[in-house]
């Protein structure tokens, strides 16, 4: 169209010189990355306290070293990469805490320190930092120290309820006993196995023992909607169903599914690690598939694999598939089906 002739010089008096101009929306929800990270950390508090309760001062040392190592690694690496230092967002703190949760209490302290370093520097920062890592940093850190320091990583101590338990007796985890020696031996060592698993009075990594404490934190996260059921519940149910069907010695459908759900790191892994936003799918239906696949891999490794526990490897394997699942199951756009109908 023809622009009408400009018959008057433009005048743009600015009545309010300091107006902020930006694209909307001009309101934001009260949510931030840091708040999410610190909330998940807070949800791990009951389990952390239980770890200290059962394993005493060694547990505290492991936790402090892991977290410090993670935070220092993050800060130094971000300095080297000339990025903004974001240790205050809680992400490195959480990774360090998760490393601590995944190692035995009486482990030489340099091992979790190495684990945190690998998690932050190699798995996270070298892949582009927060949001760009393919694998769960804490789990890669743990996987590396598990294969590098196999002996100390699988030498667990008996929870003694003694703050000075530096010379605690070693004891195999229930899953390891089951794998190596069978059910009879398991019941001999742990006469009240289900109760022990629920309350955490058994050998295991720091944070995975007290099922009840982990569930408490998980319930908090679900109520607060920081995590949803789509990954953890299918994950746990799949492990339960598969171990019930195939896990028994007296034939199909005789497995102790409750034992398998509470033993090892399933509860910790399903609620706190498989739910990692960055390394899991973000489409809800893809999350269910992700959860089921994690569960199937866990059961497969536990029942048929070389390792007694399979949660870590199951999640890491499925991390690879997360982008593919998202792409394959992308959400159906509002009105897309109807749009096809119209074209016909």
């Amino acid at each position: 169209m023809e622009a009408p002739a400009k018959e008057q010089p433009k005048e743009h008096p600015r009545t309010q010189p300091e107006l902020i101009v930006s694209i909307g929306p001009h309101m934001r929800a009260e949510e931030s990355t840091a708040k999410i990270m610190w909330t998940v950390t807070a949800a791990l508090l009951p389990a952390t306290l239980m770890a200290v309760y059962y394993f005493g001062i060694p547990a505290i040392l492991v936790i402090v070293v892991s977290i410090l190592s993670a935070m220092i690694s993050e800060a130094v690496m971000q300095k080297i990469l000339k990025k903004e230092v974001t240790v205050s967002d809680g992400s490195a703190f959480l990774t360090g805490l998760l490393i601590a949760m995944n190692v035995p209490a009486n482990i030489p302290l340099y091992i979790p320190a190495v684990g945190s370093f690998v998690a932050i520097v190699i798995t996270k920062q070298l892949f582009g930092g927060l949001g760009y890592n393919i694998f769960n940093p804490a789990l890669i850190g743990r996987a590396l120290i598990l294969v590098s320091f196999a002996k100390p990583m699988t030498t667990f101590t008996k929870p003694v309820l003694n703050v000075m338990s530096l010379d605690a007796k070693t004891m195999a985890t229930p899953l390891a006993v089951l794998k190596e020696d069978g059910v009879a031996k398991l019941l001999e060592l742990y006469p009240n196995i289900h109760q022990d698993l629920l309350l955490g009075s058994r050998a295991g990594s720091l944070g995975e023992t007290a099922t009840i404490a982990l569930l408490l934190g998980a319930a908090f996260l679900m109520i607060k909607r920081y995590i949803t059921w789509h990954i953890p519940i299918p994950f746990i149910l799949t492990v339960g169903v598969l171990t019930w069907i195939f896990g028994g010695k007296e034939g199909l459908f005789t497995g102790d599914w409750l034992f398998h759900i509470m033993a090892g790191g399933l509860i910790l892994g399903a609620f706190y690690m498989a739910t990692d936003y960055v390394t899991g799918p973000s489409i809800r239906s893809a999350q269910i598939v992700f959860g089921v696949a994690c569960g199937a891999l866990t059961a497969l490794i536990r029942l048929k694999g070389g390792y007694p526990e399979g949660v870590m490897f199951a999640i890491l394997i499925m991390n690879c598939f997360a982008p593919l699942l998202d792409r394959g199951m992308r959400s159906r756009v509002f009105g897309k089906a109807e749009a096809k109908g119209v074209k016909k």
Binding site: M1, E2, A3, P4, A5, K6, E7, Q8, K10, H12, P13, R14, T15, Q16, E18, L19, I20, V21, S22, I23, G24, P25, H26, M27, R28, A29, E31, S32, T33, K35, I36, T86, D89, G129, L130, G131, Y132, Y277, V278, G280, S282, I283, R284, D326, R330, S331, R332, V333, F334, G335, K336, A337, E338, A339, G341, V342
Partner: protein
């Protein structure tokens, strides 16, 4: 104590819950703004072709006199909103953020209507075609903010029969209360406007959708339709963007507008309640659209108010009449906080789509920088169109506009729900606008 909400389950999937903040102005009866000394009337106040001016500088005009002729089918004429003298025709700042050809009229203080306005006591004596012509001549456009010319929506092609008309009284944008006040103060006019729409479209059943946080407006509208069965009032769930056309159709009629399509593709026409009232005025009294309800609100103005203001009134005048800016006022927005446009110049005029002027104080304006996407999927849950805003953002951030298009970029109507919920503060809407523009550039 009056109920603050009624029960409503009708809604859509997705959406967000920003704080309403409507209590700042919802209880305040509308006041007529002072007659402006000077109005700036943009020749483009609608989606579609801008108008051509039909007046010259120095010409005397009366209120309601046509000053801009439609520039095409998808267009709407503009009219003088007061009587006086045309003093300038040229480019003036517009609330869309650019300069737009406009006609400036200095008031003569008499505020006289143009002669020969045709009154129609009984619209049922007129044919649908005649009624439609009146809507066009009155320059009526969608007054909820989209400003799509109304007569175009009333001219569906033959192969798209319309059987449902919905009036949009959802007013899901936080802060705004102009539709709320209109429903309380002019329910009969709205209902009559709806009946005119139904006659034009030959539809037997009309619906009015109102968010459940306005129980008094729901009651007022129910009272206005009491005793007749042709119109039904639907409380709908309080959730943003419930007032988006597609979402309202889903909630009220349970129909789904095909992706990339229009409401008429599923037999529906949606009009804002303000549009319906304007149609009533146009048909009953022959009056063109020269004034509208405008909420001036937010904690950045001293006395939030609802105004009946002339088209062309400068924002600065209404802000002054609302007590002026507070000392910490930091952002002035034309429209609501979710989809409104922030302004750099307070002399921009009220146009047909200006539902509100929102002033936010410094404390409520976020200038935080954004961080990396942590793929938390909050945006995916919030998106009413079921898109993947996180992925769109990642693509566009790196300039992969075609990839974004493959992930249904064009289905985004920029409601801002994704950006509202994003914990990393990522500006998804800004990126989407950029990508659409870049793709359009490539096409040409």
């Amino acid at each position: 104590m009056e109920a603050t909400s009624v029960k409503a389950s009708a809604t859509f999937s997705g959406g967000v819950h920003p704080a309403g903040n409507k209590e700042l102005s919802s209880h305040k009866p509308t006041v007529t703004a002072a007659l402006p000394k000077r109005v700036v009337i943009p020749l483009s106040q609608h989606i579609g072709a801008p108008c051509k001016p039909t007046v010259v500088i120095g010409q005397e005009v009366k209120k309601g006199e046509r000053i801009g002729e439609t520039g095409g089918f998808v267009s709407a004429p503009v009219h003088a909103s007061l009587s006086g003298k045309v003093t300038a025709i040229g480019a003036f700042p517009h609330s869309l953020g650019m300069d737009v050809p406009s006609v400036v009229i200095e008031s003569d203080g008499k505020d006289e209507w143009v002669a020969g306005l045709r009154e129609t006591p009984d619209y049922t004596l007129l044919s649908p075609e005649e009624l439609k012509k009146m809507v066009l001549d009155a320059g009526i456009v969608g007054m909820g903010g989209a400003t799509f010319p109304t007569h175009v929506k009333l001219s569906p092609p033959k192969e798209k029969p319309i059987d449902v008309v919905i009036l949009n009284g959802a007013e899901c944008e936080p802060y705004l209360t102009s539709d709320h006040r209109l429903m309380l103060e002019k329910p009969k006019e709205i209902v009559e406007g709806l009946r005119i729409l139904m006659r034009i479209l030959n539809v037997k059943k009309g619906h009015i959708g109102i968010e459940a946080n306005k129980p008094d407006a729901i009651a007022a509208m129910q009272k206005a339709v009491a005793g007749s069965s042709d119109i039904e009032v639907w409380p709908v769930k309080v959730k943003y963007p419930q007032g988006a056309e597609k979402m309202l159709i889903k909630a009220v009629a349970n129909r789904t507008v095909p992706a990339g399509g229009l409401p008429m593709d599923c037999g529906v026409v949606v009009q804002n309640v303000g549009t319906a009232a304007a149609i009533y005025d146009a048909v009953r009294f022959g009056r063109p659209l020269v004034e509208r309800y405008v909420t001036v609100t937010g904690r950045g103005v001293k006395e939030p108010k609802n105004f009946l203001a002339r088209i062309g009134t400068p924002f600065s005048q209404l802000i002054e009449e609302a007590g002026g800016l507070t000392g910490d006022a930091a952002k002035v927005i034309a429209g609501g906080p979710m989809m409104g446009m922030s302004q750099y110049n307070l002399d921009v005029p009220v146009i047909k789509g200006t539902s509100g002027i929102l002033v936010l104080p410094r404390a409520e304006v976020s200038t935080k920088s954004y961080g990396p996407c942590i793929r938390c999927a909050r945006c995916i849950d919030a998106c009413p169109m079921m898109l993947q805003p996180s992925l769109l953002g990642l693509f566009i951030e790196k300039g992969h506009y075609e990839d974004a298009r493959d992930y249904n970029l064009m289905d985004c109507f920029e409601c801002g729900s994704c950006t509202f919920v994003c914990p990393a503060n990522r500006p998804m809407v800004q990126w989407v606008k950029r990508a659409k523009r870049e793709l359009a550039k490539k096409k040409n």
